[in-house]
């Protein structure tokens, strides 16, 4: 007769004596968790719809570009203009997904649980910033890379746009950093997700309109210098200007951006201001 094999014992409470990693590992885990969250991975089906729809939309011009290259043997769409051209999609992604990263923890008061662990508030903010930057990079770099891969495979009767592609990668990083700083900060000021979405999109619409109207007025009044600066109110044009000055690429739509380090300094100042605001927001949450 065989012995019974599947006996269940109540072994009671067992202590954990395995490895305990430091705050670095915890911050990385939080970053990965947040990045997955930005695309709705590991969440419900509903939270995947928006990011993947927007990601699909971002891919469309690249696919069309490849088709044109293959069939008509013509120049692909400009790498360095991709973000400016697709700015509404990127802005909607930022508005829709920034609150996903920061709002639930604030709204449901999960922050104290993080703070009672080795992880610090700086680690927490850092992980969230890096996750959103990575999400935006994926959104912007994948279409560029797909298009460049297409250009490599299709034998065009012209030199490769390698420099433009690399400049656009640099521009994407600048874009991701700037948009993340603005988006997460605006979203963190309200614990309600809907309000966060609205405030980020309202901010984008405001800069879009202010940039266009102010530039139009200044130009018609003959203030060419001032108008070249007022375009930069729109964050996408600001990044495009820095990208042009930094990598020597053509400005989008031949816009007369100010040259020199000015735009880059503005970009740095905006990022610094936004991150300071974000830090102040969480300092407040810490003492409350």
């Amino acid at each position: 007769m065989s012995q019974p094999t599947g006996v269940i014992h109540d072994i009671g409470y067992r202590h954990y004596d395995g490895p305990r990693l430091g705050r670095g590992a915890a911050a990385v885990a939080l970053g990965v968790h947040s990045l997955r969250g930005a695309f709705g991975l590991g969440r419900t089906f509903k939270s995947k719809i928006m990011p993947f729809l927007l990601f699909g939309t971002m891919m469309l011009p690249a696919v069309v570009s490849i088709t044109i290259m293959a069939l008509l043997k013509q120049v692909p769409m400009g790498y360095t203009d991709y973000a400016v051209f697709m700015q509404p999609v990127i802005a909607i992604f930022l508005a829709a997904q920034s609150p996903v990263l920061v709002a639930p923890d604030l709204r449901h008061r999960v922050i104290p649980l993080y703070l009672s662990r080795p992880i610090t508030i700086v680690d927490y903010i850092g992980a969230k910033l890096v996750a959103m930057i990575a999400a935006l990079l994926i959104l912007m770099v994948v279409p560029l890379t797909v298009q460049f891969a297409g250009e490599l495979l299709i034998d065009l009767p012209m030199p490769l746009h390698t420099h433009e592609y690399l400049a656009a990668l640099g521009g994407s990083l600048l874009n991701a950093v700037l948009l993340t700083a603005i988006g997460l900060t605006l979203a963190s000021f309200t614990p309600r997700r809907g309000l966060g979405v609205a405030s980020v999109i309202a901010f984008y619409m405001f800069t879009l309109a202010a940039s266009a109207v102010l530039t139009g007025v200044l130009e018609s009044e003959g203030y060419r210098d001032a108008s070249s600066w007022s375009i930069l109110l729109n964050p996408f044009f600001l990044v495009n200007a820095v990208q042009s000055n930094l990598f020597g690429t053509q400005p989008t739509e031949g816009l007369p951006f100010p040259s020199g380090a000015g735009p880059a300094l503005i970009l740095l100042a905006v990022v610094a201001l936004a991150v300071t605001g974000l830090y102040a927001r969480y300092r407040k949450a810490l003492t409350a």
Binding site: A25, H33, H108, R109, S116, R117
Partner: protein, 296 residues
Amino acid sequence: MTILATEALTKRYPRVTALDQLTVDVGTGVTGLVGANGAGKSTLIKILLGLVPASEGSARVLGLDPVTQGQEIRRSVGYMPEHDCLPPDQSATEFIVHMARMSGLPRIAARERAADTLRHVGLQEERYRPIGGYSTGMKQRVKLAQALVHDPKVIFLDEPTNGLDPQGRDEMLRLVHRIGTEFGISVLVCSHLLGELERICDHVIVIDAGRLLRSSAIGELTQASQVISVEVEEGLEKLAARLTETGETVVVEGRSLTVQVRADETYDLLRDAVVDLDLNLVRLEQRHARIEDVFR
């Protein structure tokens, strides 16, 4: 063995003094920290976790200084806050695994510990459903699980029985007691109900307005705090006299009678007295002793 100790710990906010020269010493086992709302319990926990600096005085947790070694303290301490702190759209399993990883546990260990811990706090199949649909009792268990998942040496529980019905309270208290005894994790449990803590604690610290009122082993407090309140239609004096005869401590308070519980026989004596005297019993209830009762 001393788990945590404070020395003349003071915390002043611009308008209030939350802690005033508090000196306590907490050993292993279950220790209750009793005080009315606003007595400084939560402030004390924040200082011990190294999240808020003290204005004066010093503290040690597991021999570490919260000001300079907050990191190491938070690695070996669990904290269950008083307020709601759970995201409703995640399942308990997902959430506890995430919190384990935030405590520095590797992925696989985090999963194992989360499953173990949820089983210990008594969450069954429902742990795969979103937390938003849980009852208050289940939410409290999840909150407790996140404090336990990294196998801390000490846990701080802030009002763990808040919002629970009597049965839920009993279960939670039993669980806290098991953590202190079977699990071998030292517990500092805050409450404003002394009657609740005396059932599970080895030691009780009472603070009021940030000052230490009393710190003593549980035996010294028990007698004073178990009280039953009796109301009868007529013949209150007769009942009081009868009970005093049998050796009970009785106080007449207006239309009701307060009886100190010496031991379990007190209940029987009281019942027999009412029956023998043929009185109409209106009300008979166990009063949850509050701090004020003990120190009156």
